[in-house]
């Protein structure tokens, strides 16, 4: 099963290119898309989901001859809300109607989906009474209706508490076996935990697509830690790309992403995905 995005371009009315010949081939597994604001993540997702039409390029899906990926698509948009007077089960039944998913017993089918996101006990509760976390799980549940082959999550953990975030990661991980899961988020740790592959995007183009290990090893020797006083720490923050600062009494442990050694006593450390983002974009996510 592959999803090929070929030379996808999209420009908005002001002439700004949101996607610039974006090319990528996806196979089974979780892909995290990382990029700064305006990198084109949302435009890419909107093009894949059919919300907007690309100016040029193509998206080709192939799953043993099945090429109609729109019918095999699950999607959870950013900041998704639901109809407050619907119950969780009714929401799933509605998604089934939207996706033309037929089942011998639709209610049982809906309940099975809700079990997968741990919402079965709340199936008859009005969505208006759901917490943010429950709504997000419901969002995942509706994306799973029809057993999609491609599932896209746009900023799925925004606003979730740590417990819900962990629960979400676990659900996503359980999906990865037989699906292409695309995760676009600002939260690098989410991708670090779940995504096998990371796509780096900037100015509508793909900078790199590789496993986290590869991306980190690519900048090996470019991430440093140094202990400095306040003044030197401030100077480093102004002049270098700093991915982290930890206060240690009157001194500071500063993590710097730089091609050159930032201070005499700086030591090279193992890069993280956040360092990769800092290295490429100058900011995290």
């Amino acid at each position: 099963m592959t999803l090929q995005i070929r030379e996808l371009s999209k420009a908005y009315s002001k002439g700004k290119k949101a996607l610039d010949s974006f090319t990528l081939t996806l196979e089974k597994g979780v892909y995290g898309i990382l990029g700064p604001n305006g990198a084109g993540k949302s435009t890419l997702i909107n093009c894949i989901t059919g919300i907007i039409k690309a100016d040029s390029g193509s998206i080709i899906f192939d799953d043993n001859g099945d090429r109609d990926y729109m019918k095999r698509l699950g999607f959870l948009p950013q900041n998704q809300d639901f109809y407050p007077n619907f119950t969780a089960r009714e929401m799933i039944l509605y998604s089934m109607a939207l996706k033309d998913v037929k089942a011998d017993d639709p209610k049982t089918y809906a309940d099975e989906i809700l079990k997968r996101v741990n919402l079965y006990d709340d199936r008859n509760k009005k969505v208006g009474a759901h917490s943010g976390g429950m709504k997000q799980r419901l969002g995942i549940a509706q994306a799973l209706v029809g057993e999609p082959k491609i599932v896209i999550f746009d900023e799925p953990t925004a606003g979730l508490d740590p417990k819900e975030r962990i629960r979400f990661r676990n659900v996503i991980s359980s999906l990865a076996n037989d699906k292409i899961v695309i995760l676009a988020t600002h939260i690098v740790t989410d991708i670090a935990f779940i995504a096998k592959n990371v796509v780096l995007m900037d100015r509508g183009r793909m900078i790199d697509c590789a496993s986290q290990t590869e991306l980190c090893s690519n900048i090996y020797g470019k991430v440093w830690e140094t202990v400095t006083d306040y003044d030197k720490g401030m100077e480093l923050m102004k002049e270098k790309r700093v991915s982290n600062v930890v206060s240690e009494g009157e001194l500071f442990n500063v993590r710097v992403v730089s091609d050159e050694k930032p201070t005499e006593d700086a030591v090279s450390v193992q890069p993280s995905l956040e360092d990769v983002c800092i290295y490429h974009f100058g900011e995290i996510g």
């Binding site: 919300i51 999607f75 900041n79 007077n85 009714e90 998604s95 109607a97 939207l98």
Partner: protein
């Protein structure tokens, strides 16, 4: 898809409560009008005062087919009432030996019935004379002005062989045809229920999900059907409440009598019975309201959130009401609400030399507007819903 749209926007406690409140407001308005048009104090649901009951007894006595015997009885009734008025004068306390409790009231009611009898008896002559005049005008215009020729032929035909041979209590009909407040309430409930129909999807972000399934057009069509369904149901409930309230206050009598049995409608160009006129009134108002609801769907499709959609819809409704007096009735959708005017005057429009009733032209205009609103809403819906 339809049942989900109905569940989303119609089957909500807020809409059901609003409709119930509107029914109550409608009742208060009907009673207010009744009170200020001299209807008396204790009016509804068995609470009628003696004057009203006396009137009803007299009307009941003389209703139905007009016969010589009834005319003679009426004359005698008037004589008796006038004699009593002479005897008692203007009194403040009611007397037993009177229909309404007051001789002056008896005289007035009897005179009203006599006036209605006279109108009914003389109507045939009146309408025949209209028909003859129109026919003679048609002869005059023949070969000179095709439109006037055709118009007069139409009028000659519609006023020919008319007669009113029965008398009945008709106040309920005039009151119903004049009463437009429930249509305003229908417009309000349509705004409340329908204005979020597309805007809500955008404000909760569900539009993206719908588009991603490729069902944008189908969902929009379901929304338009939902808006139509709600408009039919809500306007029927409110119009039915008008009918029930007026039935309770005045009673609907002589459903099968022609509409020109009421003097105010003596020039009515339509050969309609009262029951037919009631249906026509509802259908024309419904047509207007359907177009209005399509406009609200269209506004909703253009709006980013429910509040904006509701505010713009409310503003447009207000503008429609304000402008209704300044727009020619032929092209004014609101002209379809005012059946009282439609039944009392002949309004014809020259369409390519043919006389067409103005309301038919207005119907064509609202149909065209409906098509435009629906087409734009569906086009918009493909992208954002």
């Amino acid at each position: 898809m339809l049942k989900y749209e109905i569940k989303k926007y119609i089957l909500k406690p807020s809409i059901i409560i609003s409709l119930s409140v509107f029914l109550l407001i409608n009742l208060v308005k009907v009673l207010e009008i009744y009170y200020y048009t001299g209807g008396g104090r204790n009016v509804l649901f068995g609470g009628k005062d003696r004057t009203v009951i006396g009137e009803e007894i007299l009307y009941e006595k003389y209703r139905g087919e007009i016969t010589d015997e009834k005319i003679e009885m009426l004359k005698a009734e008037l004589k008796t009432a006038e004699a009593k008025l002479k005897e008692y004068g203007i009194i403040e306390e009611p007397i037993e030996d009177s229909y309404t409790g007051y001789p002056y009231g008896d005289v007035n009611v009897t005179k009203d019935i006599i006036k209605a009898y006279e109108y009914a008896i003389l109507y045939s002559d009146y309408s025949n004379s209209l028909s003859e005049k129109a026919f003679s005008n048609a002869e005059f215009f023949k070969g000179i002005n095709d439109y006037d020729y055709r118009k007069n032929l139409l009028l000659a035909d519609c006023y020919k062989s008319r007669a009113v041979d029965s008398f009945c209590r008709t106040r309920a009909y005039s009151a119903l045809f004049d009463y437009k407040f429930s249509t305003i309430l229908s417009m309000l409930i349509i705004i409340l229920a329908i204005s979020p129909i597309v805007a809500k999807e955008k404000s909760i972000g569900y539009d993206r999900l719908i588009v991603s399934t490729g069902k944008g057009t189908r969902v929009m069509i379901a929304k338009i059907i939902t808006a139509s369904f709600f408009t039919v149901i809500s306007s029927f409930i409110l119009f039915a409440s008008d009918v029930i309230y007026y039935q309770q206050i005045y009673g609907f009598d002589g459903l099968n009598l022609p509409i020109y049995a009421i003097e105010a409608f003596k020039n009515c160009p339509f050969e309609l019975t009262f029951i037919g006129a009631v249906f026509m009134t509802y259908l024309l108002r419904l047509t207007f309201l359907l177009t209005f609801s399509f406009m609200v769907v269209f506004i909703s499709a253009l709006s980013k959130n429910e509040i904006a959609s509701m505010a713009v819809s409310m503003g447009t409704a207000f503008l429609l009401v304000i402008l209704s007096e300044h727009i020619p009735s032929e092209i004014s959708p609101t002209s379809l609400i005012g059946t009282s005017d439609m039944f009392s005057r002949v309004k014809l429009t020259d369409v390519l030399g043919f006389p067409v009733f103005s309301f038919v032209v207005a119907l064509f205009v609202v149909a065209l507007l409906s098509v435009i609103f629906i087409a734009f809403a569906i086009r918009r819906g493909r992208k954002c819903c």
